[in-house]
Symmetry: C2
Subunit: 224 residues, 2 copies
């Protein structure tokens, strides 16, 4: 089956149509004993590996990121234009629990390469079958295609949704974009303003630039 997708949006529409409502299974085969996994960590990690592999199988031009722990997970090229793509997965029975980025790395990386703010997010919301039920496995309930500002809320305790521990910002976290999309940032500009305010509220002297310098740097980037 060779699929041709003209745009990344076409790929998303196909992905949503094909994957929503489908069930899957993870198995470990070892020493003549097979076991299926319903563990949430394993399902999430496996799905994040599976998706780019499936895209390749659909003849999408996919190049893996240089390092699995680093942004982006991969780039996908449409019409000669490469797009940074991040894949996230979370247990749909709970609120989105994944990290969008470590905050300090996010500031450094986007200061150096503001184009990283243009990444596309494919997000899979799955449920696990009860570990002791007859059929083990998972179901992909929903598939989302988002930009970072559509995942982050401005209406919480901090200027954007972040995880704070002992007065330090650890990570940018998603808001409840699946239930309250209207509460997320409306635009790139609103998002970078929120990041700027968060950086100002929690100064970090280890970074070689000020909140103002960061904002100026990323404002030069024209999002497409």
């Amino acid at each position: 089956m060779v699929q041709q997708f003209k745009t990344i949006e076409d790929l998303f529409e196909y992905t949503r149509k094909e994957l929503e409502g489908k069930t899957g299974k993870i198995s470990i085969d070892f020493a003549q004993h097979q076991r299926s996994s319903s563990s949430l960590d394993i399902i999430g990690n496996c799905l994040q590996e599976w998706l780019p592999d499936w895209f390749s199988h659909l003849s999408v031009q996919v190049a893996p990121g240089a390092h699995t722990q680093k942004f982006p997970d991969f780039t996908a090229t449409f019409n000669g234009v490469p797009y940074d793509v991040e894949v996230k997965a979370w247990n749909y029975a709970a609120n989105p629990g994944f990290d969008l980025s470590n905050f300090d790395s996010f500031l450094s990386d986007t200061f150096q390469s503001p184009s990283k703010l243009g990444a596309r997010y494919f997000i899979l919301a799955y449920t696990a079958f009860a570990p002791n039920s007859f059929q083990q496995g998972f179901k992909v309930e929903r598939v989302y295609f988002k930009r970072i500002w559509e995942l982050v809320s401005r209406s919480g305790k901090h200027p954007i949704t972040v995880q704070v521990k002992k007065d330090r910002v650890y990570a940018i976290r998603p808001g409840n974009f699946h239930t309250k999309p209207e509460a997320m940032c409306k635009s790139y500009e609103e998002f970078i303003q929120g990041v700027y305010e968060t950086f100002k509220k929690f100064p970090n002297k280890n970074l070689p630039f000020t909140p103002e310098e960061w904002l100026q740097q990323v404002s030069t980037y024209s999002i497409r």
Copy 2:
């Protein structure tokens, strides 16, 4: 195949004999597309799930822990006596990288129930096949059966091998027990002395007991 094991040591001997050198495979089957995983996180997590399941299959009397994130992973009963068992797995190409325990939880838990210090550790050292090689999967290279003091070294920078960040002890980590077993604690007593010294070196006012009180409490426990 019904196996009868009189002691946990018998089970370990059988496990080592059966698993060392064996290869296995992890696959995710979803949307008519199968993918094998060679990702280290996934292999480690899957093996930690697989082992107690295999023990059950061998007719070992296994009861899962109350909570997957909590100690112990499971209990295994031999001759009417339940043993706390922890399963760890690590990539044999690197030094052991797993956490033995969060340090604060370890102090609280063992203060409350010193018997937790008697747990048995089944440790699987695996290697992953190169992600792009023809055959994907993993191989279990070695199987170890240890007590906590046989995993922790007294000869490092701190009184025992711990992970320290910003002047706080985060976790008890293994030393290189696989290459330098002679550098590990020789006894339960040496280990609790090392924990005590570490607690004294990094005081923690959130805990409702002093290093001296902790040492006295766990000294009452006669290890078997």
